[in-house]
């Protein structure tokens, strides 16, 4: 065997080792989260309120807050992202205006989330005087979510074949009608998996929420669903610490005795939720695609 061949073999062996090491690190991470976390997760843990000074607290309120904020943020951001991506993929001409907008979206998507959070703090909490509240948090998460969601939806719109558009236009529909009735439905599987993937990102976000949705989770009265009462779970003006913020908060200044158990349990729940989001994005996307294509 000559020198270069030997060199090649050694180098490839090295690459294999690196890859194996990375797999090991990643496996350790995921394993660590679940092995230390899952034993602490029980139905009681998921539903009971947190305790500040004694052991045995749960994450019920935080979990509810996370889900509620996610839903609100998605309801606000989806129409905006859909409109913006329709414009970008269907109407935008290739000119300076479009490239400027694309740059703006890129900038927004690469901003550190803490900067987005601070902007939300300035605008919603201070300027609009919403205080640390669900609504401030949801609006900030919307800003955080918009660029990625827009890009995801735009990609799925762009992947719809041009034949579909020509078919619509050929039948005498206006461009907008073609988009609404033909292109968007055809892109639906992609849009839905995009939404779910973004949900995972929003669900785990904390830095943007510390100074917008706040770091406290007042007890909620789950018997009162009137959004205008301040202790109702639906009230948009109450402060709402989410699960991700909770992990940060108790690790930086928590004093409960079972801090490690609570945080590892919360971390496991968070990662499990993200895993479910990832898997269901794939699964639902495929299912809807199958259903829609078999109908034709």
């Amino acid at each position: 065997m000559n020198r270069t061949q030997k060199q090649s073999q050694i180098a490839i062996l090295l690459l294999r080792l690196i890859a194996a090491l990375v797999v090991l690190i990643l496996a350790f991470l995921i394993g660590y989260i679940f092995i230390t976390g899952l034993p602490n997760v029980s139905w009681k843990f998921l539903t009971s309120p947190a305790k500040a000074f004694t052991a045995g607290g749960g994450i019920g309120v935080q979990l509810f807050n996370s889900i509620y904020l996610l839903i609100l943020a998605m309801i606000i951001s989806l129409p905006i992202a859909l409109g913006a991506s329709i414009y970008l993929s269907e109407y935008a001409k290739d000119n300076w205006f479009t490239s400027m907008i694309r740059t703006a979206i890129e900038i927004l998507s690469s901003l550190p989330s803490v900067v987005v959070g601070l902007f939300g703090f300035l605008l919603f909490v201070v300027q609009f005087n919403y205080g640390f509240s669900i609504i401030s948090g949801a609006l900030t998460l919307t800003i955080f979510n918009l660029p990625l969601l827009t890009r995801n939806i735009e990609e799925s719109l762009a992947s719809v074949s041009d034949d579909q558009r020509q078919g619509g236009l050929g039948l005498g529909l206006s461009k907008y009608e073609t988009i609404v009735h033909i292109v968007v439905p055809a892109a639906l599987p992609g849009i839905i998996s995009g939404v779910i993937l973004c949900s995972g990102r929003v669900f785990g976000e904390a830095a943007a929420l510390i100074y917008t949705a706040g770091q406290s989770a007042p007890a909620l009265n789950f018997g009162d669903w009137n959004p205008f009462n301040i202790d109702s779970p639906l009230s948009p003006l109450r402060p709402a610490e989410t699960l991700a913020v909770h992990i940060w908060k108790i690790n930086s200044e928590g004093i409960m005795p079972d801090l490690t158990q609570v945080s590892s349990g919360s971390a496991a729940v968070l990662v499990l939720a993200i895993l479910i989001f990832n898997l269901s994005a794939r699964y639902i996307g495929r299912k809807i695609f199958e259903k829609m294509t078999s109908m034709n």
Binding site: R16, A19, P79, L122, K175, Y176, A207, Q215, L270, V271
Partner: protein
Amino acid sequence: MQDQKLAKQLMKKSKTARYERFGHLLSLSALLLIMAIVLGIIIFIATKGLSTFFRDNISFKDFFTGVIWNPGTKTPSGQQAVGALPMIVGSFLVTILAAIVSTPFAIGTAVYMTEISPKRGAKILQPVTELLVGIPSVVYGFIGLSVVVPFVRNTFGGSGFGILSGTFVLFVMILPTIVSMTVDSLKAVPKYYRQASLALGATKWQTIWKVVLRAATPGILTAIVFGMARAFGEALAVQMVIGNAALMPHNLVSPASTLTSVLTAGMGNTVMGSLQNDALWSLALVLLIMSLLFNLMVHFIGRRGAFKK
């Protein structure tokens, strides 16, 4: 009379045309809203951040070269103690160190996934990296706190909090980002490059090193810059392990701080409009400007090295 009516009807926009116009405007306004948000963020943070210099009369020199950070008090030499250098140095140190440690691992893994064992890459590594990109930063921070900090403490001494722990946490955080982007750029290298190289008698390694990696260099650089941007802007995971002491880092295991860690820890304890508060906004402005610079770098690299097919 009849003609006039007909003419009017013909001249009028049809319902469909009006509908079309409505849709066009609706989607455009959504886009303009995003535009306005981006401008709003830049303007708001710039105004707040600059007021340290223009309203509180802190000189740029004091801010960027001072090493004592305790806004509201004076340094022994009588200046306002708003030296942001420790945080700026801290941020750059963790970012650069994390990138240096991550890059060889990321490139090695990506080469393995595309060139050596694509099947195993697609089956195991791809889904795992995707999941890891999505893991929230607080979870990384928590693992850093419960695994990395004790490890550093036992191995290198000190409290365990510091630049080194921050580097470890960021290394793992940006690894999946760099891997998945590098994989994309390696996949974009046309197959015939490899075939031509192998046909010339080059070994597999020579092909990878001299052809594939060279051709994918711009893409790999973009991936690294993206990873660095993520590391630079990462707040909570770093804040949890770095120790949060606004001191110039003397070694890698003494408590330090970054721009983001001071921001997250301090913003809640200051009053709007005070010097303490303004100084924090200036840190946010530095963060924003760095994020824009990273963006510019990505653009620059992308324009020079776009793959022409």
